[in-house]
């Protein structure tokens, strides 16, 4: 299979899995991390401490939490983008060297 076909098929499957789930599956899509905690509590388990912010009486606003998750994603994306850009620049430089030779 050609690389371009592989990418198209790959992204199409990802889109179907993510967008199809959002469209077809009923649910509020709460986090599985929270569900895990609730499942433990259903067995009578009581958490013995909260997170450090709760313990200091501070709650992270939802908008700030989303922003920080976006910052985390951005750190990863910038490095990956830089790596791809660097590879492409090297390939172009090598190609032009070859054509000059």
């Amino acid at each position: 299979m050609k690389n371009s076909t592989m990418y198209i098929v790959g992204f199409a499957i990802i889109a179907v899995l993510v967008v199809g789930t959002l469209l077809l599956v009923p649910g509020e899509f709460g986090g599985s991390d929270d569900s895990g905690g609730q499942a433990a509590e259903s067995y009578g388990y009581e958490p013995w401490t909260g997170n450090w912010m709760e313990n200091l009486g501070f709650e992270l606003p939802g908008e700030t939490e989303s922003f920080l998750f976006a910052v985390q994603a951005a750190i990863g994306a910038v490095i990956i983008g830089y790596f791809i850009g660097m590879l492409n620049a090297r390939r172009q430089a090598n190609a032009s060297k070859d054509s000059e030779a």
Binding site: Y7, I14, S32, Y45, A70, F83
Partner: protein, 228 residues
């Protein structure tokens, strides 16, 4: 897979830290050797960490009606092994525990064992087996990344089960089924998504920088090897 602060008894927090520490120490030693002896690989190490940063920040919906996130550890473990993967995963887990109060400091050992050690180790075993069978980079990375992701959540389910069994006397089988349905079943479609993303990137690398897979081929399966 983040076990929240307070949801593991102090005894289990200690146990998982004890399990984590040897892998983490080997990872730090290996990482220092890589950066000292192969400075040209700095960017590849950064890339391995970048995928963990990026993918573990994305909450995706699943067919169970809840959401979860990929782990992004496939590239790191295939190129640099379990030790380095545990160090990179710990950096991300600390970032989330400190800035987002997501996961926790007392549960850091347990979360690192699932996301940075056992899950990725399962992925690496499959990578080695499939590559030995002369399979291509795409299918090898797909299986390795998807299994590393899925097994991370299976390990989390085991950790939570052991905790409720020892602290509340719950039945092992029924609590394990409950935690597996919360964590692992939700994760199946997301593991497929993660497998595809990393497999497509590996395919791109195999055409843009094929020599990079020399690092993966020389990478040892033994998690305690510091050979670079």
């Amino acid at each position: 897979m983040h076990i929240m602060e307070g949801y593991l008894d102090p005894m289990w927090c200690a146990v998982w830290f004890v399990v984590m520490i040897p892998f983490f120490v080997v990872g730090v030693i290996k990482l220092r050797k890589i950066l000292a002896e192969h400075p040209e690989q700095k960017m590849t190490v950064a890339l391995s960490g970048a995928f963990i940063f990026l993918l573990s920040s994305l909450k995706l919906p699943s067919v169970t009606g809840s959401s979860s996130h990929p782990t992004g550890t496939g590239i790191a473990v295939v190129f640099y092994g379990v030790g380095v993967c545990s160090v990179l995963a710990t950096i991300v887990l600390l970032f989330q525990a400190l800035l987002l109060a997501h996961g926790g400091f007392t549960t850091l050992g347990a979360n690192c064992v699932s996301m940075g050690i056992i899950g990725p180790l399962c992925g690496l075993v499959l990578w080695k087996l499939i590559r030995k069978a002369n399979a291509g980079v795409f299918i090898s990375m797909f299986v390795a990344a998807a299994i590393a992701d899925l097994m991370t959540y299976v390990v989390t389910a085991i950790q939570m089960t052991l905790n409720v069994v020892t602290s509340t006397g719950a039945d092992f089988a029924s609590s394990f089924i409950d935690f597996m349905s919360v964590y692992a079943v939700t994760q199946i479609p997301l593991a497929i998504v993660e497998g595809l993303v990393l497999a497509m990137f590996a395919q791109y690398l195999s055409t843009a920088k094929p020599e990079i897979f020399g690092i993966a081929d020389e990478n040892k399966l033994n998690p305690f090897s510091t050979e670079v």
